[in-house]
Amino acid sequence: MSIQIFGIRHHGPGSARSLRDALESLQPDLILVEGPPDAADVLSLLRHPAMQPPVALLIHVFDDPKRSVFYPFAIFSPEWQALQYALTHNVTARFMDLPQAHQLAFEPQISDIKSGRYQDPLRRLAEAAGYTDGEQWWEMMVEERSDGYDLFAAIFEAMSALRESFPVIDNPIEAQREAFMRQTIRVASREGFQRIAVVCGAWHAPALDINSKSTPSAKNDAAQLKGLLKTKVRATWVPWTNGRLSLQSGYGAGITSPGWYQHLWAARDNVAIRWMVQVAQLLRGEDLDVSPANVIEAIRLAETLTALRGRSSPGLTELNEATQTVLCFGSNLPLRLIHDKLIVGETLGQVPAETPMPPIQQDLHREQKRLRLPAEAGERTLDLDLRRATDLDRSRLLHRLTLLRVPWGESQRVTGKGSTFHEIWRLRWQPEFVVAVIEASIWGKTILEAATAYVRDVAGGADDLPGLTNLLDRALLADLPDAIGRLMERLQSVAALTSDATQMMGALPPLANIMRYGNVRKTDATMVGEILDGLVARICIGLPGACASLNDEAAAIIFEHIIRTNSAINLLRNDDYSKQWHNALLQMVDQRNLHGLVAGRCCRLLLDSTRLAAEEAALHLRLALSTANEPGQAATWVEGFLKGSGLLLLHDETLSRVLDDWVTRIHRESFTMILPLLRRTFATFTTSERRQIGERVKSGMKVAAGPTFSLQSARADFDQARAEAVLPLVAKLLGVEID
């Protein structure tokens, strides 16, 4: 019986190649791989033709998916190659690490200690060899060369020496892991296997030599493993991305250049040339001029650099430097592109459909297939036209996932034309989302079910009005009819109890949006209407009371709320609401001791809506600025009246006439006195606005700037019939129906 130990680096193409060759010549009858035995059931899926690395083993605590660990594999991972060899040659393969059922039973913080275990000893070796970077040293000594068998003996020896001079940090988990691995090997040898191959991280290699005197005995190991905690875990395969191979989880070591490793693995000869050709093709695709002659020069430079540095074949460093110097004319900008697309490389693996997964995950896969919305590693922008059924369903799926904290898509703000029926999403699938999806399975068996249950649960617990309306907004977007009923009930009851006008005003705009634009998404808005009726009425009654005796800070908040509520009510186009709202505003304009900011804005809103004639508004202005008032109060009134309206003053004739009337009638001395008050507001306008206002006043206010769009300007020969003829087309473009 012989036991051969192969110390490798996780995700090392050179290790993988040497290992594969070594296995071919050893012809083992059992292969033990450092990895979680919990995954034994899903191991056979490796042979499935649909299994395409990079993939990862996901082990998670059964009822707490958040506590999970990933074991990523790329095609160039030695473990992957060892398992592939076993499965294709009908050799028994087993994982031999301490089961995650035990490891995950511990408190989570232990994983922090694990991450540093490979880098450190390697760096010591590299320093001894005169390198500053352990990774680089390992790469050059192991990964970028292709000689096989004695490599592992050398690694074994080097690591033995290291472990002697740098004793293992006292870490119980590490000790237990090694003890467990040794026990697995002992069991295997008792079972009568003849040639056992053990594949493990280089650092562990010396500790797994059960025949050596320095390793602990079977008795010690058994004692070490006594009384381990245990929890129920589940193992499955998930697709992984190259970018996430650098993630430190499961196998501690991450790598920074998976694309380059993939290349090292795939290209058996002419590594540098093939790489440079790929770079050239990528750059050409981006319209950067790269000729074959340049590629030749770049290769020559890379090779000369390699020789200058006394290395045997060009590494990524030399190739990158040659690329920058020859192909990019010294600029480092294209290198970023090369880094993203080639050195890391955005590929997403695939797992077969038979992989065990919770129903909700299967549902997600079905939906992705149905909507032709595959998960992709790279980022892409999706423009959805909600008038089309598929796009609408896509949007709903993304909204539901967002509710379930799976931020696959990020909704972008849409402005300009078509903003009511377009949605723009930025999609980027991260492999870890799988965990969030599995976590969501506690809410239901499908995405729809889970999202509904989740919203209903949140709605039950929430008791603030803006939070609820916000949730309602999202639930409507996600089209969760069963949850919306519950939300409406909650909203009704919470709104009835709320006496805070600001809270109600905060809740109004989202509801108004739903009411106004809901029809594009074909959501039922009648329920919203009922709530709005009550809400508007209560706002209009409560607002004047809520605005009594405000300090500056509170006034500023109310000011914003009033503006937003006003535009929400305008949006609703409901005469009844507008009437109530304007009455409330009218009441406030005349209210005594109202904060100037609020009073001024009320007056202004009424003027805009023509509920207040220009003369009346001018009267209010004069009253507010009369000398009897406190200067501070007067100043805030003007501020409320004019804030942010510099441009409007230029273009709105009514507004400027009101101001003009007032200025021309005022007495010369009083004008000088109130000038500072006016200045406070006018100073906030931009310089060009102020200059233009001045120019208009100078030219005698005669010319109204810009064309006026009013019905009165319609000319006598306006042909009603011809104008109406275009309406059906306009309606179609806008996606609305006209009677």
Binding site: L301, T304, L305, L308, G310, T325, V326, F329, G330
Partner: protein
């Protein structure tokens, strides 16, 4: 000491080059005096196995120098790009000195550089007397380098008019220089190569044609990365220049150099070294080379008019001259810097006062 004001690199560092050539056993490209490895040791400095100290000529990223040397070894022409004062010319001189032992085959690029300066000219008396003959031909430095298998240098390539620049294309791609008047050509022998330097800040002047650009490997020399690196550069250069100019003053205090470098870095980057305050940048490039000359002129002042020690008032005059290139704009920048940064800083009182007095 010789009477020459400034010696060529191959003269000044003749001993270092000789020692390197002696111990160097690595393969040398044809007609190279020393191997590429030895060239990098010469430029970056090191202590040899026999204890001989090679002084560093370039302080900065090792890989840049390695790329430059590897480029020359592959017979591709080298283009050194960088903002003014980043040691482009300095590196090119030392590369030529180390590889060919001759840094004098140089064409200085100006707006008036003609094709003759790059290819060849004629001795007109001889031309008129005897007609076009080999003797009447006056070879350019580039042509001489081709014939002798040496490194030619072209300074400020982008200042040369575009049509003149393009006369380099045949030389770089075919490694030959046709002489149609004599119905012959000058073919370069092994070892010939060309180093060009160009300023990438005023790139607009005569942008290289893409045909020419493709024939160069481009290495961009950056401004020094850290303040410490820059201090070291200034100190080394000032010391060696001081020696060359026979200044009797004491070598400058590190502290004084550090202050000058700090001022230059801060003005160049537009923020204070702690990154907390933004400041305006003057119109000049505020290069390391200028910092060196400020310290140097300060040394001269200290030696001849002061007490022989570099003090704040000695560097103040040079500082103002280096910063204020535009009398209106830069003056405001400088005064603002003095009032907001220099005045507040601990231990900078003397410098502040000295600068205000000017």
């Amino acid at each position: 000491m010789t009477a020459i004001l400034r010696e060529h690199a191959e003269q000044q560092f003749a001993e270092e080059l000789a020692v390197l050539a002696q111990i160097d056993e690595r393969p040398r490209p044809p007609n190279w005096n020393i191997s590429p490895w030895a060239v990098s040791t010469y430029i970056l400095g090191d202590t040899l196995d026999n204890g001989f100290l090679i002084s560093p000529k370039y302080i900065g990223q090792r890989r840049l120098i390695e790329i430059a040397i590897a480029t020359l070894a592959t017979d591709r022409a080298l283009l050194l790009l960088g903002v003014p004062g980043t040691a482009k010319t300095w590196v090119s001189e030392h590369l030529a000195a180390a590889i060919s032992g001759d840094s004098t085959l140089i064409v200085q690029g100006t707006a008036g550089t003609s094709e003759e300066a790059i290819r060849y000219g004629w001795n007109y008396a001889s031309l008129l007397a005897k007609g076009p003959t080999g003797e009447a031909l006056v070879p350019s430095p580039v042509m001489r380098a081709m014939r002798e298998g040496k490194i030619a240098r072209v300074e400020e390539l982008t200042r040369i008019p575009a049509d003149v620049q393009d006369s380099l294309i045949t030389i770089l791609s075919e490694k030959t220089l046709p002489i149609p008047e004599l119905n012959t050509e000058a073919q370069a022998i092994k070892g010939f190569n060309l180093i060009a330097t160009a300023n990438n800040r005023d790139r607009g002047i005569n942008e290289l044609s893409s045909a020419l650009k493709r024939r160069f490997n481009t290495v961009v020399l950056p401004v020094p990365e850290t303040a410490d690196e820059e201090v070291e550069i200034v100190q080394r250069r000032v010391e060696s220049l001081g020696r060359a100019l026979e200044l009797p003053a004491e070598p400058p205090a590190l502290e004084e150099i550090r202050r000058v470098v700090t001022i230059f870095r801060e003005l160049r980057e537009g923020k204070t070294s702690d990154g907390k305050t933004k400041i305006k940048s003057p119109s000049g490039s505020m290069s390391t080379a200028e910092a060196i000359s400020v310290v140097n002129s300060g040394l001269a002042l200290a030696a001849h008019f002061g007490d022989g020690r570099l003090r704040a008032r000695d560097i103040a005059a040079g500082l103002v001259g280096a910063v204020v290139k535009d009398p209106v704009q830069d003056r405001v920048v400088w005064l603002e810097y003095l009032e907001t940064v220099a005045k507040e800083r601990d231990g900078w009182k003397d410098l502040y006062r000295a600068c205000r007095e000017i």
